[in-house]
């Protein structure tokens, strides 16, 4: 059955709420409206307005309230309406959500899932297209997960909600309406739920390895297809989880080709790609034929819609980077 990413996320929320009465959804417009992206569609109707709560419009309040609910044993799933509108909640996320387990000597974990639609490519006006993953990934105590496929969006969200640690769950809004054959019954057993922290090789290859995640997976797959005519056989790795980071899968995929390019749409400077390039270089130095390169958004505030095409990693920019991987002997 063809399912969109939005529908898969919606099913994951519903299944988690059915499975555990402690799971509560809260956020702006998540009730009658079903969220501005309809990810919570129908949840208030099935579980009631208290379990799918339309909160006052205050992100710090939403996160702070979720902390208190989690302290008392509930499993809040918070929706931030857009990437850049999560910023008022940073105080709660960084000072409490990320640190509570550590501050309390392990006594008080906070099983909160923070869902954040993120990234650009949807023609959104300013503040609607930010890639904020590096802020979260830089903060110890948070898991940071981002699905790129319909099946993963279901499985990883279920894993996130089941996790005893806080998970920042970044949903690439550009892929919300992507569809694939998928039925949640396929991963009905716990063993089939993808664990948080494992990357996935989406395309094997022998020439070079593209390392990417979330919104940039499709353009990497496109680049790999286009690279065939240039004589390159590119592997593509979907990281899925930025924290914890799957060094094992990533390094195996890089060692197999000896060349790597990291691709993401967030600004490059001090971005997640910098961490990945450093880790790969530290661990695979003797297998590398060229420095690890990055193709990222420019170091600028996210552009207005009419200019965003220049900012986002494109097939051309990826292939240009691949061409610079020192092929001449």
């Amino acid at each position: 059955m063809s399912t969109t990413m939005v529908a898969a996320l919606n099913t994951a929320l519903r299944d988690s709420m059915r499975a555990d009465a402690n799971v509560h959804v809260l956020g702006e417009d998540v009730g009658a409206l079903g969220g501005v992206f309809r990810v919570t569609d129908g949840l208030a109707a099935e579980f009631g307005a208290q379990r799918c709560l339309d909160t006052p419009l205050a992100e710090a309040g939403i996160l702070g309230t979720a902390v208190g609910m989690a302290m008392y044993g509930l499993r809040p799933v918070v929706e931030m309406q857009f990437d850049a509108f999560a910023y008022p909640a940073f105080e709660q996320v960084f000072s409490h959500v990320a640190k509570m387990r550590n501050r309390t000597g392990g006594r008080m974990g906070l099983p909160i899932t923070i869902r954040v639609p993120y990234g650009g490519g949807v023609g959104g006006v300013e503040h609607h297209s930010d890639s904020s993953e590096a802020y979260y990934a830089h903060t110890p105590g948070l898991h940071v997960v981002t699905p790129a496929t319909v099946a993963d969006s279901y499985g990883l969200l279920r894993s996130a909600i089941a996790s005893d640690d806080p998970v920042v769950f970044l949903e690439p809004k550009r892929l919300y309406w992507s569809a694939a054959d998928f039925s949640p019954a396929e991963i009905s057993t716990a063993a089939q739920v993808p664990p948080i922290g494992r990357a996935m090789v989406r395309r094997p290859g022998t020439s070079a390895t593209l390392l990417t995640y979330g919104p940039s997976l499709p353009v990497c797959l496109e680049a790999a297809a286009a690279a065939r005519s240039e004589g390159w056989d590119l592997a593509v790795v979907d990281l899925r989880s930025l924290v914890p980071f799957d060094d094992e899968t990533v390094c195996a995929a890089v060692r197999a080709t000896g060349r790597a390019v990291v691709v993401h749409e967030a600004a490059g400077f001090a971005g997640v790609g910098a961490e990945i390039a450093a880790r790969v270089t530290e661990r695979c130095f003797h297998h590398l034929a060229a420095p690890v390169l990055r193709v990222t958004g420019y170091d600028i505030p996210y552009p207005p819609p009419m200019l965003e095409k220049h900012h986002l990693p494109s097939v051309d920019r990826i292939l240009d980077a691949v061409a610079r991987l020192q092929w001449e002997q």
């Binding site: 009658a32 205050a58 170091d299």
Partner: protein, 393 residues
């Protein structure tokens, strides 16, 4: 208490229970009912010329909303949050300001920006997706449209405070300006709104906060947003004057807002005005309002359309006739034509603009990135030209 020697025990009966001067909250409290002028004796003494001017500007404002909505349907705006039904708030917010004053609008307040003299194309630049802001904020004394809710409110306080600091340091340059911040009912829940009120109260800054309470924050009704008696009551906790007004009564809006602005200007402190209004259109073109409100509710508010109310009153008062209505309608069509002309082939944004204004002086990294993009675009253009040549052969 047994360890304490009674003779030295502090007086627990009558301690001072306040650290600062206590204020009588009564003068800060809003009236129980929103201020109305239309249909009251006060309408009779309201300046006739001003009434006609309000009518003209409301009609043009409505036409602006309609034209922008049409542009969105044509794909020439990426998004448009219409203020249809809120024109009396939008228009008066700009009319009551003097040249030296500042406006701090939110994303829904494009009309207020146009009403202050900004060219429609420039006011709509953000919505067009061309640049983040299309007008010169210093020329017009209007901050960029603010999308992160209520974040502009503390800016208004800071600017108004700075103007007073400057005036104290250099009385000859004193501007006696007022900053007017526009916020929605939903925005009043944000921490920044409360912090702005508190700062304004403590600093005594010449600021007016206008809350356009249109009953909803996207889908969330006011009842889920706040348990306060009215939003205007929020002023009291910060030692600020709160005022409640019918936001669909253009005369009341003008009267309450000008009084608030002059109150602030005269150094008597900030004012919070809550205007009760309604957005007749969906939140934006991307919203489906039928999910959260009934057609009957919308119809009831349509009957209280600020334009209809004003027109009915002006006709009854003998200040407007069919010819006047027709002439105003013609002026509105001229505005619509003017907007369409401005939107005919406006220049595309220059990709280099991505890099030019991130810093006063671009970093070496940005200069490198700009050069890389420019080279890529040149190469693309050359390839396209070659293709065209091949095709021609």
């Amino acid at each position: 208490m047994t360890v304490l020697d009674d003779s030295t025990a502090p007086d627990l009966v009558g301690p001072p229970n306040s650290h600062g001067p206590r204020r009588d909250p009564a003068p800060l409290l809003p009236d129980p009912e929103p201020v109305r002028i239309l249909g009251t004796p006060a309408a009779k003494t309201f300046d006739a010329e001003l009434q006609r001017e309000l009518y003209r500007r409301l009609v043009l404002g409505r036409r602006f909303n309609q034209q922008a909505t049409t542009l969105t349907r044509q794909g020439r705006l990426a998004v448009y949050p219409a203020s249809t039904g809120q024109e009396a708030c939008q228009i008066t917010a700009s009319m009551v300001l003097r040249k030296q004053d500042w406006l701090f609008p939110s994303y829904r307040d494009t009309l207020a920006v146009v009403a202050r003299g900004v060219r429609p194309l420039d006011a709509l630049t953000l919505m067009r997706g061309h640049a983040h802001s299309g007008y010169d904020s210093y020329e017009h004394r209007i901050a960029p449209l603010s999308t992160p809710l209520a974040t502009q409110a503390p800016h208004a306080v800071g600017l108004a405070h700075a103007a007073r600091l400057r005036a104290a340091a250099d009385p000859e340059a004193a501007e006696e300006l007022v900053a007017l911040a526009l916020v929605g009912d939903g925005g009043t829940s944000e921490g920044d709104f409360h912090e702005a009120l508190n700062f304004a109260g403590v600093l005594g800054a010449p600021v007016v906060f206008l809350v356009q309470n249109n009953g909803y924050a996207i889908s969330v009704p006011l009842a889920s947003q706040s348990a306060a008696p009215t939003l205007a009551h929020k002023a009291v906790g910060y030692g600020i004057v709160g005022r409640l007004v019918d936001g669909n009564d253009a005369l009341a809006m003008h009267s309450v807002l000008s009084a608030a602005v002059e109150h602030a200007r005269s150094g008597r402190g900030p004012v919070l005005v809550e205007a009760i209004t309604y957005r007749l259109d969906a939140h934006t073109n991307a919203d489906d309002a039928t999910r959260y409100r009934s057609a009957a509710e919308v119809d009831a508010w349509r009957a209280r359309d600020p334009l209809t109310l004003l027109e009915r009153h002006l006709r009854a008062a003998g200040l407007l006739d069919d010819a006047g209505v027709a002439a105003t309608a013609r002026a509105a069509e001229e505005l619509a034509t003017e907007i369409r002309t401005q939107f005919d082939n406006p220049p595309d944004p220059d990709p280099d603009s991505l890099f030019t204004h991130v810093y006063a002086t671009p970093t070496s990294q940005l200069r490198e990135q700009a050069a890389e993009l420019a080279a890529r675009l040149d190469a693309d253009a050359d390839a396209a030209a070659d293709d065209a040549e091949d095709e021609a052969r």
